[in-house]
Symmetry: C2
Subunit: 665 residues, 2 copies
């Protein structure tokens, strides 16, 4: 895959050819070689990840805060990418031009799936060996070659971009949904939805327009290659934020939970929004093939696309999530945790696949499936499965995330389709910052008109500062690199991702201190519940963590047992009307239907539906005590803010002091 | 992928073509379509697995014993395969014949990696539309088309066979190694190695020779297509056993642990042996391209290949395992369990990749890596990581195993390269049974000459009966289906796998009862340790299970606290001399070096190496009490025989009674 590998093993390959006597053996050797190169390529990434893991450990051990793990992965990637680039020569792929038989019966306007290639046919092979026998080989379709002169058929130099959408992103996004801080998420739903939906669209539009303006001011060759749709697409792909680094620091420092929920919720949702938005822009482009100007009907169709695909994907994910909840509620599969975990993983992946089969967005489906799995299914799972699924997705997420950041670094040097254009890069940096500002400040102002405790100015600055770009932007940029415009976008996106992750990520602790954002905030806020969950109970909430009989009460939970039924202080009036409505439906209909939660449906449904309610209520729902329900429920909420693993040797007070420690670095 | 899908979506495809106006849009639609078909194909398997999981639950719930989960997966696969086959038409792949340009400068004897295909070039596309513009497309190499007339270019109908070797088998094999019952494995090492190494080779030779004889007696057309090497290859691929079903029943019924260890150990190792053996046969074939006769030097080279590749792969795996043990011993990465688990997974996968890069056998490396990880690294891990890695690989193993058996069922109908030859199939069934008999009975006789408590006759019958064929045979058979001979082998192998898994698997409980093999045997034998582990302690062994502070003592462990330091009754004299030697090296050098186990190296190394020993000993090794060591160690051994999850509602005495329940079915 990598040039150095290709060139190094070409020698082996030639040796293999010399040793063998026939084409068959050479072909076998070639297949073996390709497999070895694939393995070597994977091995390089495995070693890089191992190195990253070990360095992260050293950093955590020595409490280094000026570089976060994702930044580390990027930097290692850059170093190894540079070594690969400058240690070997590129483009060892062999090719031949071919033409179809004139007398073929093929009669479709698209090229065929398979080319049956006759080789060597009329070519003169001037090797000293015996003549190569004529054979027929199958060649499968890969894509169009736009620039035939450039010889840029470097198809093997990197991974297929679709790998990101089908293998790397789904576990990351599912994990985000599965661990969404649901309580504060719903409390700040209004702000989160505004930032994620309106904000991302606004940001895309602003960046797209500004970039189009910038491009027009640039040299003519560049200006000609960008249409307005191109720059709008750039706006859409650079808008989603990925504040991994910031959030890791937040949870370490126990930053205000509302701020945490807003940043996390927004970043999870704006990934989904940006993905669907960029799809809608491409559809618009595809469907009308106009020269870049606006057509009203096309524009409306694109908006329809956006809304339709987003909501249908959401529906698919939510339905599969609810279906899993029903399966785990009404069967006793929880008696066999392995089966239960397998079922959980299979249905969650099924949500992704179903959405893809129906031309929806699998990533969006998997996000909402994750949210439903956490909100409903998680409560039905056995203690073993809860633990297993949580740990499994945590590990997958960790590996996938670090892989993608390593790959961003490596591909900066090895991906053959980069196009460095200083003007475009500078413009990209400036407009992406501006786009983030347009997302946060005006919308916060509008939100503050209706919010009881407004979003304070330093929170707004922090929201602005958390606008790191990450995996989704990169995946969207690398998906299509046919034209020079797209290549320039990829380069700019890669650079923005690298810069924001390394620099902004490293400076996040200082930013928190500089903006005087309160840290070390009581985790006692954590268990303050939404009214809809506590409407029936004033009892103490016992927070359990871990497996069934063996729960561990985390030290920081000890001071959190006082339950505040209707939200105290600033919490009370803050929650959105939307959350109130949703809360009623959720607690009276969905939770009793999909989980073993009380009150049972027989109490909440209107009288004429009671018989149905009786069928859908399990004996466990009737018999269990209020108390055990509370426990299950709060456990489910805890899934979200899994504490950073605290080394056993370190004072449990550390999180409260760490900020000062960081401040001195 | 599947015919029904292909034909169903061809309509969508044509609609898409009609709607669009240019080739670009049609091409985009085609790419989307291919992606949707891929997703649909995966979705079918996901649904099948979900169905299997749910049915397994029902079977476990109702205590059905006449069909095991793998048998179930195969049967579901067969049903869905038949539906796909007969509900749709096949071969919708479009193709064109092409020839290279005569004036190309290409000068290698192998076909190129990429064909740059000019389309439509000189072809007349007689659609009513505007003329299709000439473009160049990239086509990548897929393989040789042997039978050009048959039009059998159904490359998309199934998964790439390499997926089995690179994705499905590694987690299965690693899990087997990670969970190998090490104590009894070492005690029966002699028998296991004899059955696995000598037995598999013998079985392959016998089956190969007999099949060659049978083929010669058959119609001439068939006889001509098989060489002796072909039938020998068949012998090698059909020899490995896969007694999943049998072992699941064994551990449920608590069958004699020595028998369990022999069957499990043999099946794990003979997979590795068969894989390397078949590789050596192919190398032999490749290297000398003779007409099937023997050449002494080639034969010796093949044996050298076999020994070299096997032992080097073993070495790579073991080294990576030990390296991981060192990393986890000398760093404090255990303070962050997520990092630790990630490191564990990455290095284990790294072992596979390194072996593949050096043209060794990754599967063998991963097996021995798993054994070392369990024997050394596991002891250094934090409680959280132990749990996480165990559960992760258990889940991966479950999914991979069920996938492969489902796929065997589906591919019986959908794989285009089956060749049903009744004579070959009948001969295959008979010889594979004979081969198993030749493996077990004569070798048992020889072993019994040297074994103190001999392998009793009913154990031998059970060993014979446990000769189910499974994943490895299928993966080897589907790897190469170029010639008709190979296709007949695939068909026969698939049928043997299906028959043995469904019938023998279902009858295993009855066989146990019929052969009067003692079941419900005390798990108190489980913790009887090899002398080398207990040489320094006569204290009680406390068996802990679970996470760190929260261990659960399983009910069946309660009667196992009496430690028998030197093996009681039949155990004492049985262990092989090999095991004794290995035990000394292991307990005096490897365990103290690679884990925190006592005695430290400072006590076991000769005097002149003591300073080195001091460097390699951790403070924890000096300071920890004997007792905590025992606990860690026995926990590590328990990893192996993870009890079948027992439903919480069922009487813990159940395992002892289940046999009678099964007998009545």
């Amino acid at each position: 895959m990598n040039p150095v590998v290709v060139s190094a093993s070409l020698i082996l390959y030639l040796i293999a050819i010399c040793q063998g006597s026939g084409t068959d053996i050479a072909l076998d050797a070639k297949a073996t070689l390709l497999h070895r190169i694939d393995s070597l390529n994977l091995l390089i990434y495995t070693c890089l990840l191992t190195l990253t893991v070990l360095t992260i450990w050293v950093f955590k051990h020595r409490r280094v805060s000026w570089l976060h793990e994702t930044g580390l992965a990027v930097i290692y990637g850059l170093i190894v990418g540079a070594i690969i680039r400058y240690a070997g020569s590129t483009n060892q792929v062999t090719y031949i031009d071919a033409h179809p038989d004139a007398d073929t019966k093929y009669n479709l306007s698209v090229p065929p799936d398979i080319v049956r290639f006759h080789f060597p046919d009329k070519i003169q092979i001037s090797s000293g060996e015996a003549p190569v026998p004529n054979k027929t080989y199958a060649y499968s379709f890969r894509g169009e070659i736009v620039n035939v002169e450039q010889n840029e058929i470097d198809l093997k130099a990197t991974f297929d971009p679709e790998i990101f959408f089908n293998i790397i992103l789904p576990p990351i996004i599912f994990h985000a949904g599965y661990c969404l801080k649901r309580k504060y998420f719903f409390r700040n739903l209004g702000a989160i939805l505004t930032f994620a939906m309106v904000g991302t669209a606004l940001s895309a539009l602003v960046i797209g327009s500004l970039m189009y303006g910038c491009v027009q001011l640039m040299p003519a060759s560049l200006a000609a290659s960008f249409t307005f749709l191109d720059t709008l697409y750039f706006g859409a792909l650079i808008s989603p934020t990925d504040p991994l680094t910031v959030l890791a620091i937040f949870s370490q420092l126990k930053v205000d939970v509302n701020l945490y929920a807003m940043i996390f919720g927004e970043s999870v949702l704006n990934d989904a929004v940006a993905l669907v938005l960029s799809g809608a822009i491409q559809n618009y482009e595809k469907r009308y093939s106009v020269d870049g100007g606006f057509e009203i009907t096309a524009f409306l169709a694109a908006i329809g696309d956006f809304i339709g695909i987003f909501s249908l994907s959401l529906l698919v994910g939510a339905l599969i999530g609810c279906l899993t909840a029903l399966m785990t509620k009404f069967t006793h599969v929880r008696d066999w945790p392995l089966l239960e975990s397998a079922l959980f993983v299979l249905t969650s992946y099924g949500a992704f696949l179903i959405a893809e089969v129906f031309e929806l967005t699998g990533v969006v489906a998997v996000l909402f499936c994750g949210i439903c799995q956490a909100h409903y299914t998680y409560n039905n799972l056995s203690a073993d499965s809860r633990n297993r699924t949580k740990q499994l997705f945590e590990l997958l997420n960790f590996l996938a995330e670090n892989f993608i950041f390593t790959y961003i670094g490596v591909s900066m040097f090895t991906f053959p389709k980069h196009h460095f254009d200083p003007w475009f890069i500078i413009a990209g940096f400036l407009t992406s910052m501006l786009g983030r500002a347009v997302n946060i400040y005006p919308l916060s102002f509008l939100l503050n008109l209706g919010r009881k405790p407004p979003i304070p100015m330093n929170f707004q600055h922090m929201l602005f500062f958390s606008g790191l770009r990450g995996a989704m932007s990169f995946a969207l940029a690398i998906r299509n690199t046919v034209s020079e415009a797209r290549q320039a976008m990829l380069t700019t996106t890669s650079l923005i991702v690298i810069a924001t992750v390394v620099l902004q990520g490293g400076a996040a602790t200082h930013a928190l201190a500089y903006l005087r954002i309160p840290t070390g905030q009581g985790q006692n806020d954590e268990n303050e519940a939404l009214p809809y969950r506590d409407v029936r109970s004033n009892g103490r909430m016992v927070v359990k963590w871990g497996k069934g009989e063996n729960e561990v009460v985390m030290p920081w939970q000890l001071n959190s047992f006082e339950d505040t039924p209707h939200g105290n202080g600033d919490g009370g009036g803050e929650k959105a009307r939307l959350a109130r409505l949703w809360g009623a439906v959720d607690s009276k209909l969905l939770k009793p239907l999909l989980t073993h939660a009380r009150p049972p449906l027989t109490e909440t449904l209107p009288a004429f539906l009671r018989p149905l309610g009786r069928i859908l209520t399990t004996t466990r729902q009737y018999t269990q005590s209020e108390n055990s329900l509370r426990r299950t429920d709060s456990d489910s909420d805890l899934c979200i803010d899994e504490p950073q693993p605290v080394p056993t040797t370190i004072d449990p007070q550390l999180p409260y002091n760490i900020r000062n420690g960081y401040g001195n670095v």
